[in-house]
């Protein structure tokens, strides 16, 4: 496939890009997403200090308001926190954790959900009933409740949070893939592939799956935004990530006590960053939903 074909109007990627391009709001949101993603990836090269290297932290610099200078002449544009950490650096590292947890759990949930959804749709019968019963059970409970239950029982930790987020998300993907695959399954091309003697795994992955992609992309984006938000909430409550792995939610929680005494920047700036991240992902996701399927309906 040439690059030209990939970006053509009728190809998926082309449709997505032109769809975003037609909405100025979505373009801005997409640019914000890309900048934040980029900032998270190259994080350590971007920050003036490593916020976890205790050697560079100076307690005399703690709780400095935005724009003040450090003892050795560095500028803290967004101020410092209680440990004398540069807020900007801490936020970039927090962004890495938040985005990492959100995207990773989203991708694993997508894979698990897709495989189970495809299996349910293709084989039908008892397997289908079993998988969909579990899906219904999972979707019947609010995300935050399931995550709370798990973490209350398991205790906090990075992998436990990721596990909880995967567990609450996979069912959404499974249901979407199943309903898309059920439609595709009865189309002629699948029958043709079966007649040609192509193996089941290849039919599922190479033929049916690509046609189920549009709803998956939309749900994937919205789920990543949800996961980031959920992780931040859990960390804020003190049952999510441990203090050694500070995400944006944890940074906000740390600054919460200081909010009342006027040191607003310690929790407000990470909050603004978190909001920008989730808001822009949601706007792009919302736009993609309109582009890909105007009849998909809204939540």
């Amino acid at each position: 496939m040439t690059a030209r074909a990939l970006f053509a109007e009728d190809m998926l990627l082309g449709r997505l890009l032109t769809g975003i391009g037609r909405s100025p709001k979505a373009v801005v949101a997409a640019v914000v997403c890309i900048i934040l993603l980029f900032a998270a990836v190259i994080g350590p090269y971007l920050t003036p200090q490593n916020p976890f290297d205790l050697a560079v932290l100076d307690i005399l610099d703690s709780k400095l308001p935005p724009g003040s200078q450090s003892m050795d002449g560095m500028n803290y544009w967004l101020g410092t926190d209680g440990q004398g950490r540069d807020m900007f650096s801490a936020m970039i590292y927090g962004l890495r954790t938040s985005l990492g947890v959100g995207v990773f759990s989203g991708i694993v949930a997508l894979l698990v959900g897709t495989v189970l959804g495809l299996i349910a749709a293709y084989f039908g019968g008892r397997i289908d009933t079993l998988i969909m019963r579990i899906v219904d059970l999972m979707l019947g409970f609010p995300t935050i409740l399931v995550a709370l239950m798990l973490l209350a029982l398991l205790g906090q930790g990075l992998w436990k949070v990721i596990f909880a987020l995967i567990l609450v998300q996979w069912a959404t993907f499974a249901r979407a893939v199943r309903s898309a695959a059920l439609v595709e399954k009865n189309k002629d091309y699948v029958e043709a592939a079966v007649t040609l003697g192509i193996g089941t795994p290849r039919i599922l992955i190479g033929h049916i799956l690509p046609n189920c992609l549009p709803p998956l992309i939309v749900i994937g984006m919205l789920q990543v935004a949800n996961a980031i938000s959920a992780e931040a909430t859990l960390s804020f409550l003190g049952i999510g990530l441990p203090i050694t792995e500070p995400s944006l939610g944890l940074l906000i929680a740390n600054g919460y006590q200081l909010l009342m005494s006027g040191e607003y920047w310690i929790s407000v700036y990470p909050g603004v960053l978190l909001l920008m991240l989730v808001f822009s992902i949601n706007i792009v996701g919302d736009r993609l939903r309109e582009v890909l399927n105007p009849r998909l309906g809204e939540r």
Binding site: I144, L153, G238, L259, V278
Partner: protein, 324 residues
């Protein structure tokens, strides 16, 4: 109808059993139950005594039946911190949470339905764009951060509203609630807004979609042809059709609001079960955690059950579909 209700009821019981098993496995199989159920500062002798009295030396399945039997009798253990039955602690704080949740729900409906109507009747206008972007913002604002901003603006900067506690309670018809005193009401406003903002966005979107789907239908055209005023068409004919999906979702969202109250109560120090849960997790007061989980899940399953039954009354297609 009766068959539907019975089948739905049995399903609810099944879900409850599954949850009980999961919670049981969570405490007894994954972790060390002695570690979880005995206070960390207990002596060796006390420890041995509790292990024996809890029957932890018995096989796992027997332990499960003891656990289930006690749970059915309302005995979910005693709180280490308060030294009282954990279930009593939960029920003591439940009214505060219900009061907060219901007020939040009313907020979401009173504001959300008109905004959704406005947006749906004038699609793709500036008003619609503003309301819809606002609702995405409502979805995106993490509830805890939004609560902090409410406190910062209305309590710290403006000093208009209190930010912690439940305030004074009044009594009316034998119900004690913050709703009946002015002080209580001022305490309720910020937490209720905090809890309702997410649902408000949802109600706006649902109403808007409902209006946009219903307006082009034939019966609306017919009503117009009959010369019925536009106002009557929207508020009587269209509105009735929007209500069905709205009621279902609201019923289901009530459960999720109960769960989200954990966040709101923590921020606003609201003395409900959510704050109790977080405090108990922090204090390692595990019997209370277990009791909270079982109570909230039962409550949630009960709400789902009621919603499904109500929905099948409103829309016969549901129970016919289920009978196949």
């Amino acid at each position: 109808m009766t068959v539907f209700v019975i089948r739905r009821f049995l399903q609810s019981i099944a879900v409850l059993c599954v949850t009980a098993v999961i919670v049981f496995i969570g405490i007894y199989a994954i972790g060390d139950p002695a570690e979880m159920l005995i206070s960390p500062d207990a002596s060796q002798a006390e420890r041995a005594q509790v292990v024996a009295s809890l029957g932890l030396d018995k096989p796992l399945w027997e332990q499960f039946f003891t656990f289930a039997w006690n749970a059915l009798h309302g005995d979910l253990g005693r709180s280490f911190v308060f030294n009282r039955p954990s279930i009593a602690l939960i029920f003591e704080r439940l009214p505060a949470t219900l009061e907060l949740t219901l007020t939040g729900l009313v907020f979401a409906l009173v504001l959300g339905i008109p905004l959704g109507l406005l947006s749906g009747l004038k699609p793709n206008t500036a008003t619609d764009e503003v309301i819809m972007t606002g609702s995405i913002l409502g979805f995106s604002l993490p509830s805890f951060w939004q609560g902090m901003m409410l406190i910062m603006i209305f309590s710290v900067w403006l000093g208009w509203l209190p930010s912690t506690g439940r305030g004074q309670m009044g009594e009316f018809l034998g119900i004690r609630s913050s709703l009946f005193t002015l002080d209580g009401l001022t305490h309720l406003i910020l937490p209720a807004i905090n809890l309702s903002l997410f649902k408000l966005s949802l109600v706006i979107r649902l109403t808007r979609t409902g209006v946009r789907e219903t307006m082009p239908l034939d019966f609306v055209k017919f009503a117009r042809a009959k010369g019925i005023s536009e106002r009557r068409i929207v508020f009587v004919h269209v509105f009735k059709n929007i209500l069905i999906p709205l009621i279902t979702v609201i019923g289901l969202e009530l459960g999720s609001m109960l769960a989200f109250a954990v966040v709101t109560e923590t921020i606003f120090a609201w003395p409900g079960i959510g704050k109790l849960l977080i405090d108990s997790i922090m204090r390692l007061d595990r019997p209370v955690v277990v009791a909270y989980l079982l109570v909230i899940v039962s409550l949630f399953i009960f709400i789902n059950f009621v919603v499904d039954v109500l929905y099948s009354l409103v829309d016969p297609r549901v129970r016919l579909g289920g009978a196949q």
